[in-house]
Symmetry: C2
Subunit: 183 residues, 2 copies
């Protein structure tokens, strides 16, 4: 009887996704979540030990897909293109990412996403420059710029489109160059 289990889990994931469009993660109680999924309260704990575990499950899917899209671009020496890929990906579930990345909502997942973005940036930034700085500021910049632009965009109206190509050009010029500064 795996079909029923899978269906219940799908209902729970869907319910969380739906509730996240209206309220932050912390404000969602397991009872409300179960009710929204049309599932018994105790049933929830038969599938996930806690609310966070459900979020992790959701995030794992999301991040796995993110990796699948960004990875093929990591060999290309074009940071802007990878950022555009990130934008495109996030755009597909704008409401979800708004809930996840803005506000002090879900620091767990936000930290996960930042780590992921950092790893991607580091991947195609290559070895760090020997400029005496303890952290690779090129990676710092690529990551923070990407996140900041996404955050800005998440706050805009639905209609607003990202000026992705222009941003890509700026990032390519600024952030990921063989050496920091005038290169």
């Amino acid at each position: 009887m795996d079909a029923r289990q899978a269906r219940t889990r799908a209902k729970l994931l869907e319910a969380l996704l739906s509730l996240l469009e209206r309220e932050p993660f912390e404000a969602i109680t397991v009872r409300a979540l179960a009710a929204a999924a049309g599932v018994g309260y105790a049933t929830f704990f038969r599938h996930y030990p806690s609310k966070e575990a459900l979020l992790d499950d959701l995030a794992a899917d999301e991040i796995a897909e993110l990796l699948g899209r960004a990875m093929p671009l990591m060999s290309v020496k074009d940071s802007g293109r990878a950022c555009v890929a990130l934008f495109d990906f996030v755009a597909r579930r704008k409401a979800l990412w708004r809930a996840l990345l803005t506000g002090g909502a879900a620091p767990i997942l936000r930290a996960q996403f930042i780590d992921q973005a950092r790893a991607i940036a580091a991947g195609f930034a290559g070895p760090p420059p020997d400029d005496g700085c303890p952290v690779d500021l090129r990676v710092t910049f690529a990551t923070s710029a990407t996140l900041e632009i996404i955050a800005w965009w998440l706050g805009q109206d639905e209609a607003e489109a990202l000026p992705t190509e222009r941003i890509a050009a700026i990032l390519n010029r600024l952030a990921i160059t063989p050496t920091v500064g005038q290169g």
Copy 2:
């Protein structure tokens, strides 16, 4: 009878500071806090409506002092110097800032600090460039680089000193220049 009240509040602030060195903000219960301060549980609520209010109080002091130090430097067109001022300030209470800025510990205060740092950076960055990018990436970079370096340093041993002058030079060259890129 103001002296007693002030003393109690001081005890509470001190206790929070002390507890933050051992556990994240969320893990600290009001009961433990009151006990650590040698104060009755209900007494806490006579001074602060919630745990967050106490944190806000602590943050307000901290940020006010931060402003007093960084403000005088905002007219100077030297981002590195302001960053060094930030470093020096954070260094005075390393344990506190480690608890506040690292991990997913206290997103509220972390967000406050980031906003503050952003405002400072924007102050001496001047008007944003008209490069079509919706956010001022110079500010983004100055803020994130400063935070990242601080975060790195907070993870180091006590003895480790920040290479402030070198970082200042890098920041001056990279981030806050009249126009983005090759200037």
